[in-house]
């Protein structure tokens, strides 16, 4: 439970510190997934230990978070790229931009 809170808090700090949408998405997709999974696992173990209840809904919630968080991160990064937010690039080129440009050229031909 403490580790889950630590991960969620560190991700909130990261969201406030990072300079750009894409680095912020890096903070916003992975760390809260681990945090919420550990907190829900703590709840499951607490209910099992104190009341002998095996709660399948909590396991379902863990599975759903594990599946849905990367999907939403991917959709948000696509949306941010198509909304013309410039990435924070220091020493690399924007590979997705060049890929889309070549693909559009092929379609134009």
């Amino acid at each position: 439970m403490l580790s889950g809170t630590f991960f969620i808090f560190s991700s909130a700090l990261g969201i406030n510190r990072f300079p750009d949408v894409f680095t912020r998405l890096h903070a916003a997709t992975k760390a809260p997934t681990l945090g919420i999974m550990s907190i829900l696992l703590a709840t499951f173990l607490f209910l099992y230990g104190s009341h002998q209840i095996v709660s399948g809904k909590l396991l379902l919630a863990i599975l759903f978070i594990f599946l849905s968080s990367p999907v939403s991160g991917h959709m948000l990064s696509r949306a941010a790229h198509k909304a013309n937010v410039k990435p924070y690039l220091r020493h690399r080129e924007d590979e997705y931009e060049t890929y889309m440009r070549t693909k559009n050229k092929k379609q134009a031909k």
């Binding site: 809170t5 700090l13 998405l25 919420i36 709840t43 759903f64 978070i65 849905s68 939403s72 948000l76």
Partner: protein
Amino acid sequence: MIDVLHVVEHILYITTLICITGIALSLILLIYRVLVGPSNPDRATALDVIGVCLMATAALTSILLATTKLNDVILLIGILSFIGTLALAKYLEMGVIIDRDSD
């Protein structure tokens, strides 16, 4: 034996309170990001993480109250925040909901 159980319950209570405080602090930081955020995808990202924080608060509340009635709430918040994030992303992209050309 009863003393040990009592001490364990006390430790669990204090830990739950610490966790609720940490999640409240992170919610304050996330609301700052939603209000200030330089662009709209930032706000959408922060709203996604706010949904995760709401799930965490519901789980911690169910530990505090020792009930199983909040499990439905946790699952429902997860599903709704996922659908909301997808809708926001598609709105920011100005695209159709289901597109064939997916890359």
